[in-house]
Amino acid sequence: MSHEFFWQDQQQKQPAGLPTQVSAFLWLDVVVACLRKDMISALSERVTLFQMLILPINYTILLVLFALAGSAAPTTVVMVDHGPYAQRFYDAMQVSHSFRLQVESEGTAQAMLVRGDTVALVTIPGNFDQMVRRGQRVEIGLLVNNLNTDFTDDVTRGLRLAVTTFYQQQFPGKISIVTQIHDAHPQQTDYIPYLSVAVVVIGLLVGGLLQAGNAMARDWEQKTIKEVLLSPAPRSAIVVGKMLAAGTVSLLSALIVILFLVLVIHVSVLDWSGFLATILLLSAVSVAAGTLLGNLLKLRQTVTLLTRGISVPLFLLSGVFNPITYSTIGLVVLARLFPVHYAISLVQSTVLGQRTNILSPQGNALVLVGFLLLFVVCSCLVLRRGHSEQ
């Protein structure tokens, strides 16, 4: 007798008037049993657990270091002239959002540049004030350690900004072309918090895929799936129970990332309830995807390999640095095929209050729910197929 018939048989044996209720209780029993079993297994596999917890922090640090490296150039200023205009020029450099400034003598500055302690050396010449006052040509010296063109360009542009700022402040009538910037958002979001917010998504993605994928693959590897499939339990209850266990464990890594964001990066969450709801939804989607992956691959090592291999590229292809629509059309189409893009956008909208794709937050949430249902249904179908193979 196949398990479906057995299950139907059991249902038929229930007293009249109670079948739905009883079957619901039995369904819940299966969910709880699967949940308990997988939780115990997960907690006993300490290495996998450690890996799952440490990976999102690794990614956070990766992005923080990436943002830190490009934020401001350590620059040494040699002020041969100390007059008021020279000082005003130094101030203009300071507000250009491009440099970490330090004033030194020429000898020290040269030594720092050679040692690699500074990347640019700006010299304000001796007759600076006099020449500026007379409106004569003055040359600011810039010696730059041109390690790569991107950073060198930032230094040069930062200095040009300082020049125009200086003239606009000291000689307002002299430069007629000025810039009027109107910002769409009243608050300025630093690049580190902006990038870090999206890390929650990869934390949940990796946690869910690893945990759920490994739990499912372990059952296939150790052949315990046979017992599960031969039991009269419905596929949906098995899948939901396993997903709940993986989701609970993977939420641990999300919790660590959230604590890191709030306590270390000092990200202030705009909408906590929306953010927490988003976390739960993302966790469910990642875990459902992991369950499907584990069912398809059936080997833990392959699941781990694929999870580690695909999660970072997928994450970075989904609009972490800027809205994905700023990229090429190929990347936009690719990003829209996967739930990660909608997840990043949803997290950014709940935490920072920013719209970073063309959908509303509700629209993004709906797409994610669609992915969740798709993964759950596919997992049940794969389990059914797996049963007939067994």
């Binding site: 040009r160 910002d183 300025q188 390999l305």
Partner: protein, 379 residues
């Protein structure tokens, strides 16, 4: 002479055994390649991301100065500029296809001509400060470019720029070199640590200990085996980088590049064996190897420029051997320089020797016997 021959045989046998096992483990090879492969993609996408974002340029003024200014903005090469009408610009902005609308308003040329205030209006979707700062810097960049073309410039303050190095290295090219270090580290750590931990798991370490050979010889054999597989991977990536034109080491500096890869591989292989001796579980050392190499990579300035990072990070990087290996590679590949070659090599060799001693101690028969006994008594 007999002792020398015997040592050579032991080393040869150990190398053959370890390399054969490594070649059979395609999943281990794949695992070690996935991580650097992923980070190459990270570097590529990152360098694209920090580069040119799209903006819409609306030129409402038909005067000469307005078109010169618009051209200067395109020439500044900071953004991908789409020159469009106001409704189109608004549509692109609303659909997040551009990050900002830069408008040169009607009467701009006349205002500049009359030395009156002529604003360039920017509507910015300031999602983050990186984009905002690029925008803040780019318009003055275009303004100074424009004024520099003028005969009687109102901006007599000019920048006389000198570069410390003659070569210009693109951001992505620059990031490929640390990735060679990462690949070498991951491959060396994973291959050697898994091979050593495997000896403990399947208890083949017993046979090794009972063999009448010195532990130092055995460790040297294992290190050379790890070094061969690791250096091969490093050389392959170097070759791919050279074929794709990412990096072009030339002349004697190609030899220094090869030396750097050889020393990094040696260090990674020795560190892997040390890790295997200490932790003795394949799964544990696999996780530690990948996580550890990523940390070493980050801290050595792998995804940015170490000199641009805060002082505390640079101080930490001084204790990371990968910093020296990557520096050696960068100097040889990009700048044709032997700057701090001695210091870099000394750190790599010194760390390798220290780890070699750790391996010899950890594989000493008495230590291993204690470990195995402890393992038997552990439930």
């Amino acid at each position: 002479m007999v002792a020398l021959n015997s040592a050579r045989d032991v080393i040869g046998a150990t190398i053959r055994k370890d390399v054969t096992i490594y070649l059979r483990q395609w999943k281990t090879i794949l695992t070690s390649l996935v991580l650097p492969g992923t980070y190459i993609l990270v570097a590529l996408l990152g360098s694209i991301a920090v580069g040119r974002s799209p903006i819409a340029l609306v030129v409402q003024d038909r005067g000469t100065i307005a078109s010169q200014m618009a051209q200067a903005m395109v020439d500044a090469d900071v953004f991908r500029v789409s020159r469009v009408s106001p409704p189109d610009a608004h549509h692109l902005y609303e659909t997040l296809s551009v990050g900002a609308i830069v408008t040169i308003p009607v009467g701009f040329s006349q205002a500049v001509h009359d030395h009156q205030s002529a604003p360039i209006v920017v509507q910015s979707n300031n999602l983050n400060l990186d984009f905002e700062n690029d925008l803040r810097r780019s318009i003055p960049d275009a303004i100074t470019l424009y004024y520099a073309q003028e005969a009687a410039t109102p901006l007599p303050l000019t920048i006389q720029q000198h570069n410390l190095r003659t070569q210009n290295v693109e951001l992505f090219q620059y990031e490929v070199v640390p990735l060679i270090s990462l690949l070498v580290t991951v491959c060396g750590l994973i291959a050697s640590s898994a091979s050593t931990a495997g000896e403990f798991e399947v208890l083949s370490i017993k046979e090794i200990l009972l063999a009448p050979v010195s532990m130092g010889t055995m460790v040297i054999g294992k290190i050379i085996a790890g070094w061969i597989t690791t250096a091969t991977m490093g050389l392959l990536l170097l070759l791919v980088g050279m074929l794709l034109g990412w990096i072009e080491p030339a002349g004697v500096f190609l030899l220094i590049t090869l030396l750097a890869i050889a020393l990094e591989s040696l260090l990674a292989a020795t560190a892997g064996i040390a890790l295997g001796c200490v932790f003795r579980r394949v799964q544990a050392v696999s996780v530690l190897s990948t996580t550890g190499s990523v940390w070493l990579f980050f801290l050595s300035g792998g995804l940015g420029v170490l000199q641009f990072e805060p002082i505390f990070l640079r101080k930490i990087a001084a204790f990371d051997p990968l910093t020296y290996g990557t520096h050696m590679l960068q100097m040889a590949i990009f700048y044709q320089s032997c700057d701090r070659l001695g210091e870099d090599s000394a750190v790599l060799i010194g760390t390798t020797l220290a780890l070699f001693l750790l391996c010899v101690v950890a594989l000493h028969p008495q230590v291993v016997t204690v470990i195995l006994k402890k393992g038997r008594t552990t439930p």
